[in-house]
Amino acid sequence: MYLSRQLRQLPRSRLTRHIASGNGTHYTTAARPAAEHIEIPKRIERSPTDLLQALASTVGRDSTAPHYKYHDDPFLIPMSNIAKRTYALSKEAGRKAANWIKEEHRELFMHQEAQPPIEKFAPSMVYTEESEVDASSLQLLISQGEVTDAVLVYNLLEQKGIEVTDALKQSLLELVCFYNNQEPLPEEYIEERWFMQNNRRRERHGKTWKDGELAEKLYAAIEPKTPQSYAALIRGMAKYLQCERAYALLQEANEKRIQLDTNTYNAIIQIVSFIKDTAELRWQMCTSLLNQMAEQQLQPNLGTLNAVLECISTFGNFKLARSSALKVLPEFKQLGVTPSLGSYYYLLIIFCRERAPVSHVIIDILNDIAGKEFKVEHPKDTFFFATAMDVCRNHLHDKALAKRVDDLLHTGNNYDLIGDSFKEGIYYRNYLALLCQTESIEDFMQFYDMLVPNIYIPEPGIMEEILRAIEINGAVEHVPRIWSDMVIFDHTHRESLLLYVLRIMVDNRPNPELPAQQQLPKQCAKVAMDMYNKIEESVKRIKKVSFTGQMLGDILTLLVRDNSSFDQAVEVFNYIDKQQHRIPGTPADSALFEYIEATVLNKSPSQALLALQYAVENNMETSALAKRIHEGFTLSEVHLAKLKSLVGEGFINK
């Protein structure tokens, strides 16, 4: 009975406990969310390219691989500067040709493959004299920045007597002023822009503004004159260096008490150096313009800072330039204007001049900006890195600084500001030249391996610097590697470089005891033979290199130093012997001597006698040669007789 009661109670107690515990767990799970409030983050609006940019940032630059634009066809990967340029531009030319076909045969491309449709693939609108146009199409063209079409449509509208609003005229005026009524290079030809800027260095030299053309007509058509119309024309004239008229227009606007804006003043400050001649006058005008801005309560911006610095950088008077730059900087610092890389570029060219005392301003600049990321804010921002490296190399000659500049370049997206291929070339040229002058040859070769050939290909001048570094360090073991690079980079038609390579190899006889140099005699002989063949081939080329006696002698020396290439040495010597009337100069005496040594080793007395005969005919020092031949061989009668006939009997008595 008792048991049965107990039994009956057992499950109940258990059950209650279970419920209790169940309640307990229930409470805990219920309590937790109350304590930890889950906050669902707001959706972040992403632009269409954000995801792609995040992905792209995970892909670093692989210095062992060619640039992305070159790797489509491994067989054709370009290996010299000229080939790189040709390849990239041909690729873009292909794109241009395709575009031309698309425009020329527009009837073939009327179908829409994509749904939703992609506007870019549809044939573009063509505007002709007969087109039906209205103000909205003009608006569209202006927003697309199509200068010629916009002008055409505007003229059509005028002919048809359709009223164009002043706002639209103003927009068109700005467009025409910005591009000086010239069609700009289409945006998508990125390679052309990348390689083109080389020839744009001259752009700042002369006035290119088109006087009395459309821009000024448009300006005249806007009545009454607004600040905007003044600003547009002033900026256009300033941009295309119609300086006097731009300044006159500014004065006119001031007389009429028309309030202009900061950017227009910036444009005028930029061209002060074209209006005034001496540094003092320029500085005077600059400050008076700034005073005008202050009177009109215009807040200066980064453009103002850079324009003032640009004006200062044209001062011939170093001290005035320096002191005024040091006054401008704190002023803008107080105004809260953060300098861009362009500002630092101007500082560098203000402080580090060829004919001025050495300035370490770049250290202070780097202390200021190291580790920062920059975005392009001013057109001159892209000049900073090339100039900074130039200062590091030519002005201060400081390796550590150069490395700091390089670190800055590889911070974040700063590499975008390298500019174009030309500036990138200057940058690496200076960097590599500086490193090869200051680093030990082993460390330098590490840098060389990293940069060459995918990031940078040395120009012949830099190659000479590298060879000089090798010569100074006596690091002849690097010569075969450098030579193969020279062949790839197409430097083999530079006589000075060839001579340099030969001289290094001849002067630094490889030491067979060192394991690194055991293969060297063979490699040097190969290089020499290669060079010999290259020069022989070059006869057919336009830029031909001709042999000199010295060069051939060096080649000969290198060939005889490698035991296995005696036959080739004989071939080269026979060439010297046969062509002796064409080749200017003779091989060095030491070259002939080493050659005779080799003939002794290879037991070919007739070759030795040929060499001696050559020496005699060319009026060279012969007694040592004759003596060596006499000692080295047991000569037959015929040979002995020849020897005697060449140098007489005197040598035996010595």
Binding site: R46, P48, L51, L52, A56, A88, P116, P117, I118, F121, G145, S171, L175, F178, Y179, I190, W194, P227, A231, A232, D261, L290, A294, Q297, L298, N301, F318, K319, S323, L326, K327, L329, P330, E331, Q334, F351, A356, P357, V361, D364, V376, E377, P379, D381, L417, D420, S440, I441, R468, E471, G474, R503, N508, L514, D589, S590, L592, F593, A624, K627
Partner: protein, 388 residues
């Protein structure tokens, strides 16, 4: 201090030729000694060693140049380091080993001679050691050269050739020398840096006009340029004072030319543009040029006029039949088929579908009479058929 050391170094260099004369016979004896050693071996061996020595002498020649260069390139902090101390360079150990063998006999003499000279020159212990090691470094180079020059005349070709290259080497040495001179400029200006700092400190406390007047007379002093080197305090100077005057209230000046600023922004972007470096960048470029669909891929993108239209208005088109279409009969049947067809057509907008339906409405309205005629005729025909 620095200048003093420089002059001392110079004087040592000037003394070197005489020192060489003094030790000349020593170096000669060393070379003859080594030649004797060679002479004991076979003649072929002698040739080989001569051959080996030739590049060797050149390498020591360049080594001497390297020393000169390094002396020049040394930073001013390292000037207290001994000029003659060893700098690690490739092939050094090897060269030293060979030199050591050769010098065994002569080295002691040379060292004692150098010590004597150093004793004559130096005043304190440190200087003595320095000059001694400097001299030794020079002499070791010279002894090798001297040895080659005094070799018997039977191979005159070698020294001549060596001389030829030597000349060219000296030329490069000369260029390097130029660099040394230029780089020494900051060293010389070093003492005046303190002066410069003091002046900038002073100018900071002074008002701007005072600063200008204080600087102007100095502009004509000849030594002035030297004071302008070294570190530059970029932001510590006196401000221009045009915008930062207390009463100047500046207002933000947004660009008044909207089109211009747009174009300017585009141009700036192009300045920083570079050819894409990987496929993702290529995609970014294409996206910006509008050649590919934008991420996230959405088949309704660029749908401007239809964006606000609900799908139901595309699909449930029967509602537009209410009010004019009969509830049954062939017209109703026809119009229902039209509605099904339109609801499946993705290429026309909802408004166009509506218009399409209403076109039929108007059509049937216009043809009402004919249709009624036909219908009655047909129905009477049907009746006839049935009755017939």
């Amino acid at each position: 201090m620095l200048a003093l050391r420089n002059t001392q170094k110079l004087s040592i260099r000037a003394l070197l030729p005489t020192a060489c004369k003094n030790v000349g016979h020593l170096s000669y004896s060393s070379s003859s000694q080594s030649k004797d050693d060679d002479g004991s071996s076979s003649s072929d061996d002698e040739k080989r060693t001569k051959k080996q020595r030739k590049p060797e002498e050149k390498s020591t020649e360049t080594a001497a140049q390297r020393l000169n260069r390094l002396l020049g390139t040394m930073q001013m902090q390292t000037t207290d380091q001994l000029a003659g101390t060893d700098f690690p360079r490739p092939g050094d150990a090897n060269r030293r080993r060979r030199e050591a063998i050769k010098q065994d006999a002569a080295a002691n003499n040379v060292i004692t001679a150098a010590k004597n000279i150093a004793g004559m020159l130096g005043t304190n212990e440190n200087d003595k050691k320095q000059t001694e090691s400097e001299l030794l470094a020079k002499l070791l180079g010279h002894s090798a050269e001297g040895g080659s020059d005094t070799k018997p005349g039977d191979d005159k070709g070698t020294p001549a050739a060596a001389g030829g290259t030597e000349k060219e080497l000296n030329l490069s040495e000369l260029i390097v020398g130029m660099k040394i001179d230029r780089r020494q400029q900051p060293h010389q200006s070093e003492p005046t840096r303190g002066e410069y700092v003091r002046r900038t400190l002073a100018s900071r406390s002074k008002p701007m006009t005072g600063d200008l007047t204080s600087r102007r007379p100095q502009r004509h002093v000849k030594r002035e340029p030297a004071t302008f080197s070294g570190s530059v305090n970029l932001y510590g100077g006196e401000p221009l004072g045009i915008f930062t005057k207390g009463d100047a209230k500046l207002q933000d000046s947004p660009d008044i030319l909207s089109t211009w600023s747009l174009l300017n922004e585009r141009e700036l972007k192009l300045h920083a543009a570079h050819p894409p470096a990987n496929y993702f960048e290529q995609m970014i470029q294409w996206t910006n040029q509008g050649k590919v669909w934008r991420f996230p891929i959405d088949n309704e993108q660029d749908m401007q006029e239809e964006a606000d239209v609900d799908f139901s208005e595309h699909i449930f088109l029967e509602q537009h039949l209410e009010g004019w279409c009969p509830n049954k009969g062939p017209i109703r049947h026809f119009m229902e088929l039209v509605c099904v067809g339109l609801s499946k057509n993705p290429y026309v907008t909802a408004q166009e579908k509506k218009d399409h339906i209403f076109w039929f409405r108007d059509y049937f309205e216009a043809k009402k009479d004919i249709l009624k005629d036909l219908m009655s005729k047909e129905s009477s025909d049907n009746v006839n058929k049935i009755t017939a």
